[in-house]
Symmetry: C2
Subunit: 227 residues, 2 copies
């Protein structure tokens, strides 16, 4: 008799994959483009989002899903925009889940008006490991990385850099004050994800934010044309 | 009939707790003081450790256990010191475990000469969530936080800041170039962990590193006297 080995780990992933696919179908049906926005803690996701919303809220119907272990600090920062914001707290899990999964996102969908939304940005929990392992039904994955984090991060957290469809290299206004070798960082980035689109940005000065907005707008328009 | 509910989550923690206690007994028997060193990716743990080792390697027998999802970049950086270094890679787990647990640490103990070691520093995976949830048998938990990460981090990742016996506030050489409100950060820190010892440091300039070394030396001497 041949006994088939089933690994529990695989089941967890399969379950997530199934729910992510259901999310994706709902997103497609509603005609909403979904971005899973990820980074280490403090890389500047919320600041980059604020900068982008200053322009995007005039051109698109945007909604934001904030993922945090606890609290709603980031959601509160977005209150000044004309965007729908929902908050997921992962702190009820095992001492605080370190990532969003498809089911958490699914549980939040009822609180958003997907039919009236062009772009949904899901701001994931700040973490360079697990968020990259859980699809949530997104169309694109954008990651922010800060030049203050050092050149070695793509080699140390390769799955995250490999998962990204776009890498925003943030805080470039600090480059003159750091021993950060940008060329070396870019080589490491290409080592783990050759040719991945990347943009040099600064949420503080606004540099590069227009290019990011253009990237988002193009994705939304393309999805809408394909529908 | 009364049916007792048993939560799986609790079992995972209990198992870790049991192994952590076994580690702790081995550490105590060998007379080694163990520090669990944690932070977000890129906060400067390895740089702070390098700075400290420049002095500590002359005064103590130090060993380092490096925890990374993959690679041995940090361990390689320590090759210039007279310290024993072992590497744990968590990448064989579920797509890469985002933290060290007691069993991973236990599996590495055979590769260290604990009996000849005064201080063992365990550099955890860069992550502000899960490492704080898993004791590894350490005597003390030190966390590094960078002023580039923003003032809100204690409120967003309270478990980590609450777990720390010492908070190293790193990269203070960048303060003149940031919109970082140190007073506000310290208030948030005290909100989640009132009065926790904290030190302002810069791995780049060396500022504050002596105070950190003194703190470590005092802990080691105290443990040795108590033995």
């Amino acid at each position: 008799m041949h006994v088939k080995k089933v690994r529990v780990v695989r089941d967890v992933r399969d379950a997530n994959h199934t729910i992510a696919r259901a999310n994706r179908e709902d997103f497609d049906r509603a005609g909403v483009t979904v971005v899973n926005f990820m980074s280490a803690p403090g890389a500047g996701k919320t600041s980059l989002l604020e900068r982008a919303l200053e322009r995007l809220e005039l051109e698109l119907a945007v909604a934001v899903l904030e993922g945090d272990v606890q609290g709603s600090l980031d959601a509160d920062r977005l209150a000044r925009f004309h965007v729908e914001v929902a908050q997921i707290n992962t702190g009820d899990g095992f001492g605080g889940e370190c990532h969003l999964d498809a089911n958490m996102v699914r549980s939040a969908l009822d609180s958003l008006s997907l039919e009236e939304t062009d772009l949904l940005v899901v701001e994931n929990v700040g973490n360079l490991v697990c968020p990259a392992e859980f699809r949530i039904g997104e169309d694109f994955r954008v990651m922010a990385t800060s030049v203050t984090e050092g050149e070695d991060k793509p080699l140390k957290y390769p799955l995250m850099y490999r998962a990204a469809d776009l890498v925003l290299i943030n805080k470039i206004d600090l480059l003159p004050h750091l021993d950060f070798d940008l060329e070396r960082f870019l080589r490491h980035l290409d080592d783990v994800h050759p040719g991945v689109p990347r943009m040099l940005v600064s949420a503080r000065t606004g540099e590069g934010v227009d290019a990011w907005c253009d990237w988002l707008l193009r994705r939304v328009r393309r999805e809408q044309e394909a529908a």
